[in-house]
């Protein structure tokens, strides 16, 4: 297993200790190079150690995590944001396919995150994702037009209107695009439902999240909906009523 190098940046001593201990205990493949107690220390440590990724606490006095990233300029490492609570930030991470951990940390999630980092091609599309992240953060009320997914062969930035539907594939999600392309993301469908529901997507079935803009025909008798790319997406019985209501509003 490939070893990953990491930095922990958190102003709270307990926060740093905790992550350090958790990583040691649950993710032996990760080597923590250094602990930094502020953004300033963090920048110095990043420049010195050039880690594969950084655990970055957002909520720090003086300079917070986002400000630190802006100060760094070029970001050549993956980031795992660590936050106690911030709805807006979490939404932004999802749009830009950044990993994040919520405090207190769930060891399972920590392991899953590290697993994703290992399979990811290094520092893919980082600048574009970072600017998407910052845009989403600065205008939390505005809907982003793009979404980033970490696919098996790299990170993709997709235009949301071009997504026809998403289909669950175990813990993964397959994106079907207008162009006929498809990509598999390493995040589950539920995560995408959280952010895409406000973008006109509807969870028609346990395994389907469909873009209402791409519906061609609803086949009542069979419980299917014909999408613009010719595919059929299932509509479960439980969701039928809600789905019809949505269609009427359309």
């Amino acid at each position: 297993m490939e070893t990953l190098t990491a930095l922990i940046i958190d102003d709270e001593l307990k926060g740093r200790n905790l992550l350090n201990e958790l990583v040691k205990r649950y993710c032996p493949e990760v080597r923590v190079l250094d602990l930094a107690a502020s953004a300033t220390e963090g920048i110095a440590a990043i420049r010195q150690h050039k880690p594969d990724f950084v655990f970055l606490d957002i909520n720090m006095p003086e300079i917070n995590g986002f400000q630190m990233l802006e100060m760094l300029g070029e970001v050549a490492f993956e980031i795992v944001f660590v936050t106690a609570y911030n709805e807006f930030a979490v939404k932004a991470y999802k749009y830009s396919a950044f990993d994040y951990l919520l405090k207190p940390v769930d060891p399972d999630e920590l392991r899953a995150t590290i697993g994703r980092l290992q399979s990811k091609k290094r520092s893919n599309n980082l600048q574009e994702r970072f600017s998407l992240l910052m845009r989403t953060l600065e205008e939390p009320k505005k809907l982003p037009s793009k979404i980033t997914i970490s696919a098996s062969d790299g990170i993709m930035v997709l235009n949301i209107p071009e997504i026809v539907y998403l289909e669950a594939d175990g813990p993964y999600t397959t994106f079907f695009l207008q162009s006929g392309e498809k990509f598999v993301s390493s995040h589950n469908l539920k995560e995408y439902e959280d952010i895409l529901a406000e973008q006109g997507f509807f969870r028609s079935h346990h395994s389907f999240l469909i873009n209402l803009d791409h519906i061609k025909k609803y086949l009542k008798s069979d419980g299917y909906v014909l999408m613009s790319n010719g595919h059929q997406a299932e509509v479960s019985k439980r969701k039928k009523e809600e789905f019809l209501k949505k269609l009427e509003q359309f």
Binding site: E12, N64, Y85, P140
Partner: protein
């Protein structure tokens, strides 16, 4: 038809009219009908005595006959004027619409009554009255006077231009014109009652009276209708006014409900501002750290304090006020938990400087904590070196004073660190607390107040921030 033949018809008509007016008065209780009834009665009596041989009943040349004679010749016509004035008063509501006319009418009425009384006294006890030159002069004078007063009134009412007034004016004018005609005809001297009716002067008087009564009756009906309409529209107005009042009451109730809703909402949000998710999860994170680093005692203590704090906050959040002692307990627990989280990198002092028993003072819950949190996060954590937070409670008769003082970096420097994203979150607690203070002020007459003071040393260097909170004692 001769005049004599016509007379019973005339009298009958008048009597019917009088009866009609009496009935109308009974039903409608409009004084105008009553006065008008008397007015017609005067005319009936005048003609009755004039056309019948009353000397047959009262005896010739007796005092009673003189009295009756004087009364029929002077009393009834003159009294008819008086009733005419009163009718005008009720019919046109003179005191309100034409107070000037009413004043003149009343003077004229006194003059007329005095005149009647004077003539009766003279006739009964002192001298022959009938056909004496002085009496004829006086009587003519009186007739002219009353005519002038009537014409004056008619003119004024006509100028007033109201519809009811027009009936009055027309009726009065008709009587006046036919009366004048009758008077003119008397100069030609045809008084043969058995001649054709239209050749007799008094016939025209009758015509005038009948036409006038017709006009006045029409006027009364019209006025009656008008009153009905007015009454109806007044009822409508009253109804809509009542509706308006009901709507207003509903509005007030709604506003109150809205205020209550806001209050509940704010209480929820107050709960949220103190149970700041950041604080909650970071505290739990710190406990997790204690566990994983095997600091079991610290973890147990931390968890116990944290639980007690959450319990207190939940208990307090649904009460409008709590004893100060409870608020102090909550505050102390909060500060302990924060101090643990920051590994005792700041110190705090809680001073209770009040003569009053803290368990007997009631204050709205969770008002002090947001200021303390603010002081820690913006004043102290950004500062290097010694960090101190002093919270002092003091009181006088009607207010509780809380001072929250930190030796942090000051508001100005703190603001420089604020990024837009950060501001959103951190100023939330402050915003909610200010809203709550506003609501408290709206609900009670006393003023809750929060003042922020920048502390500087003698050279002007910032030394921290102090918030002075004034709360009305409830």
């Amino acid at each position: 038809m001769t005049y004599t033949e016509m007379l019973p018809y005339f009298m009958g008509m008048m009597s019917m009219m009088m009866l009609y007016m009496a009935l109308q008065y009974m039903f409608l209780r409009d004084k105008a009908y009553l006065y008008y009834k008397f007015y017609i009665a005067c005319w009936i009596l005048f003609f009755f005595f004039r056309e019948t041989d009353f000397y047959n009943w009262v005896g010739d040349d007796t005092r009673l006959s003189w009295f009756v004679f004087v009364f029929h010749r002077i009393g009834f016509p003159m009294l008819s004027y008086v009733f005419y004035f009163w009718f005008g008063k009720s019919f046109l509501d003179l005191p309100r619409t034409f107070p000037h006319i009413w004043r003149i009418f009343r003077i004229a009425q006194i003059v007329i009554l005095t005149y009647i009384g004077f003539i009766i006294i003279i006739a009964l006890w002192f001298a022959e009255v009938d056909r004496t030159p002085w009496y004829e002069t006086l009587h003519t004078l009186m007739r002219v006077l009353t005519a002038v007063v009537s014409i004056y009134g008619i003119r004024k009412v006509y100028q007033g231009g109201e519809m009811v007034g027009k009936y009055f004016v027309t009726g009065s004018l008709l009587l006046l014109i036919f009366g004048m005609l009758a008077m003119l005809l008397t100069f030609f001297g045809n008084t043969d009652s058995d001649d054709v009716a239209w050749k007799i002067p008094l016939f025209y008087m009758h015509v005038g009276v009948v036409l006038e009564i017709l006009c006045f009756s029409l006027g009364l009906s019209y006025k009656n209708k008008l009153t009905e309409v007015q009454k109806f529209s007044m009822e409508q107005a009253l109804l809509s006014e009542r509706e308006q009042r009901e709507i207003e009451q509903l509005k007030i109730a709604l506003e109150k409900q809205e205020l209550n809703r806001q209050m509940t909402n704010l209480r929820m949000r107050a709960l949220r501002s103190q149970m700041n998710p950041h604080f909650l999860f970071n505290s739990l994170n710190a406990i997790q750290e204690c566990i994983i680093t095997n600091q079991t005692d610290a973890a147990v203590m931390y968890l116990a304090k944290f639980s007690r704090l959450v319990r207190l906050i939940l208990e307090n959040s649904d009460k409008p006020t709590i004893p100060l002692s409870k608020e102090i307990d909550t505050l102390r627990l909060y500060l302990d938990v924060e101090a643990l989280r920051f590994a005792h990198s700041f110190h705090y002092d809680l001073t209770i400087n009040t003569q009053l028993d803290p368990s007997l003072i009631n204050i709205p819950p969770m008002l002090v904590q947001p200021y303390a949190e603010n002081a820690i996060w913006h004043g102290l954590l950004n500062k290097k070196g010694e960090r101190q937070l002093n919270i002092t409670f003091s009181s006088d008769e009607d207010s509780l004073y809380v001072s929250i003082e930190d030796n942090g970096i000051g508001r100005k420097k703190s603001a420089e660190f604020e990024s837009p994203a950060k501001k959103n979150k951190t100023s939330m607690g402050m915003k909610l607390t200010n809203e709550r203070l506003n609501i408290i002020n709206e609900l009670s007459e006393d003023q809750a107040l929060a003042e922020v003071e920048d502390l500087i040393d003698s050279s002007g260097t910032p030394m921290g921030t102090r918030v002075n909170l004034t709360l009305p004692l409830l």
